[in-house]
């Protein structure tokens, strides 16, 4: 191995600063959320306490935080499951290069690049003009899918671009039906990437703001609730909430990553060759 060049150390320092830039502010509010009861939105710390966390759990003067958390969590799971199923089906469909697939592809790209507020405005108008009421589980759900599905599909395209077709051909030669090939060959091979799609589906939904702004109806999701707080709450209770939901996000990310890692390890131990089709 050749020795590290000087540019390595310069770049490593740059990378370290970048990580500090990424994580520094979040860590700062995590520290400040333990402010003493008399503390403000910035340093110095006036003692340390769990005062602001207790505030979150006790009084509901700051709004319906726990209700909005439950709704965001439920919506996240709904969007996650739908994103995984629809993306897999869509990915399989695109492999068949069906007529009109080019147009559907451009729709996906449009869905990805369209300013979020247009979805909010358009879906909101569609519901109000047709006499339906907007609700997080209907209009909010659909609006979020326009953001999570493009990511799910891009991942599926990447997966199928690297998919070795000879596994399927082998299954077919051995007499497997199309369904058996899908169930016992294709799905096990792409399973690890589905954890990635699920991670995107859940977290993008859980944190989505702009697309739910006009489509969530009278019951807020958590990001909407937090944004509402920024205009009228000027105590560290805001940081306490921010810290809690960030910790929750990190736990979810950890669970997904652990699942992916365990899956990979189990397969390696079982000596299966599934997954080798992925480059």
């Amino acid at each position: 191995m050749e020795p590290r060049s000087r540019s390595f150390y310069v770049l490593a320092a740059f990378f370290g600063l970048f990580l500090l830039f990424l994580y520094g502010p979040t860590i700062t509010i995590a520290i400040l959320s333990f402010q003493g009861p008399g503390g403000g939105l910035t340093f110095p710390m006036r003692g340390t306490s769990l005062h602001w966390f207790r505030d979150l759990f006790e009084q509901q003067a700051v709004g319906d935080i726990w209700g909005s958390f439950r709704r965001s969590f439920a919506l996240g799971l709904m969007v996650m499951v739908t994103t995984v199923v629809v993306s897999v089906m869509g990915g399989l469909a695109f492999r068949k290069r069906f007529p009109g697939s080019g147009m559907v592809f451009y729709l996906i790209i449009t869905s990805l690049v369209i300013p979020s507020i247009l979805i909010s405005l358009g879906v909101g108008l569609m519901f109000s003009q047709s006499g339906m009421t907007v609700h997080w589980a209907t209009s909010g759900f659909g609006s979020q899918l326009t953001w999570t599905l493009p990511f799910g599909l891009l991942i599926m395209f990447a997966v199928f671009n690297r998919f070795d077709k000879s596994y399927e051909e082998a299954a077919r030669d051995l007499g497997a039906t199309p369904w058996q090939t899908l169930r016992h060959v294709v799905l096990p091979i792409i399973a690890p990437s589905l954890i990635g799609v699920a991670l995107f589906g859940f977290t993008l939904s859980y944190d989505e703001f702009a697309r739910t702004l006009l489509t969530a109806g009278s019951y807020n999701t958590l990001p909407l609730e937090i944004f509402g707080m920024t205009t009228n709450v000027t105590t560290p209770v805001l940081y306490a909430l921010g810290t809690l939901t960030t910790v929750f996000s990190l736990i979810m990310i950890g669970v997904f990553l652990a699942l992916a890692w365990l899956g990979a390890r189990r397969r390696a131990r079982a000596g299966s060759d599934a997954g080798d089709g992925l480059a």
């Binding site: 979040t26 340093f43 068949k96 300013p115 395209f157």
Partner: protein, 287 residues
């Protein structure tokens, strides 16, 4: 049944059906409705179906529109340049200077984790840093760089750009890293054997081969910044405007036809920009 599914066209469409239904219901129909409503009339209390050009006449007749569009392009251009510089450097370090795959994956994940947490909270988290009595001001004052706290740190264009870079650099790092990892290492060895210096390798080998990744990152960053309204509103303390805020202000005044007309122009602008960028890259080939 098997026979129908085996048919490429019918089988493909059946599999794509859920996707197409979602996109038609929540993407195509809303866009059509926005275009229709942009020709409607508005009174103080309601909106009336009509076919008038007054929303567009007002939009193009107002000097505010041009200023706000210009401001939107300014945010996009500055954010693009900064995220490209930072994102390329980070991706280059990860792809060419980290030698084991385990470390590459670990450090790459460290860069992507913030993407899966809340943008709103990541914006809020700048308050204690940039505020009047925040960390930045206290540090600068204790070092004797400034005498009085800087007022332009929070609630300014500076804060807006900072937040954009903070939120969106990731969208540059990921695609650029992805294309860099696919560069055949023997090309770099060949260049070195042929006597190229480090800078020459970077400029003549790595950058040309990384262009598709740069283009995909550019598409993400430019569209996210151009369509944003919440970062500008929060980080500028409602003092700066971009097109997204123009739309959201109209919405809060229930002036839907006017919001719709602005939205149509914004969408056309974004699509034209993307159309130009897509000429330089074939996304489906790069995935």
């Amino acid at each position: 049944m098997e026979k129908i599914l085996a048919n490429r066209a019918i089988g493909g469409w059946l599999m794509a059906l859920p996707l197409v239904v979602v996109l038609v219901l929540f993407l195509v129909l809303p866009i059509i409705l926005i275009v229709v409503v942009s020709f409607w009339q508005a009174t103080e209390f309601s909106i009336i179906p009509a076919f008038v050009w007054e929303n567009y006449e007002f939009l193009f007749g107002s000097p505010v529109t041009y200023r706000v569009f210009l401001n939107t392009f300014k945010y996009a251009a500055i954010t693009w340049a900064l995220t490209l510089g930072i994102g390329f450097t980070v991706a280059y370090f990860l792809a060419f200077h980290i030698r084991t795959q385990t470390w590459q994956i670990a450090l790459f994940l460290l860069c992507t984790i913030p993407f899966w947490t809340s943008n709103i909270i990541r914006m809020i988290s700048w308050i204690p840093f940039l505020g009047r009595n925040g960390i930045a001001n206290s540090a600068l004052m204790s070092w004797g760089v400034i005498d009085a706290p800087l007022e332009w740190l929070l609630f300014s264009d500076f804060a807006v750009i900072l937040a954009f870079v903070h939120l969106y650099t990731l969208f540059m790092v990921v695609p650029i890293f992805n294309t860099m990892m696919r560069i055949d290492k023997s090309l770099i060895e060949a260049a070195r054997d042929a006597g190229a210096s480090g800078v020459q390798i970077l400029w003549n080998v790595i950058i040309p081969l990384t262009k598709p990744g740069i283009m995909i990152g550019t598409i993400f960053v430019v569209t996210l910044v151009m369509g944003d309204f919440i970062t500008v509103r929060f980080m500028s303390g409602s003092q700066s405007a971009n097109v997204g805020r123009l739309i959201s202000n109209d919405i809060s005044l229930l002036a839907y036809p006017s919001a719709a007309a602005t939205a149509v122009i914004l969408l056309l602008t974004v699509l034209i920009v993307i159309g130009i960028l897509l000429r330089f890259v074939d996304i489906r080939k790069e995935l």
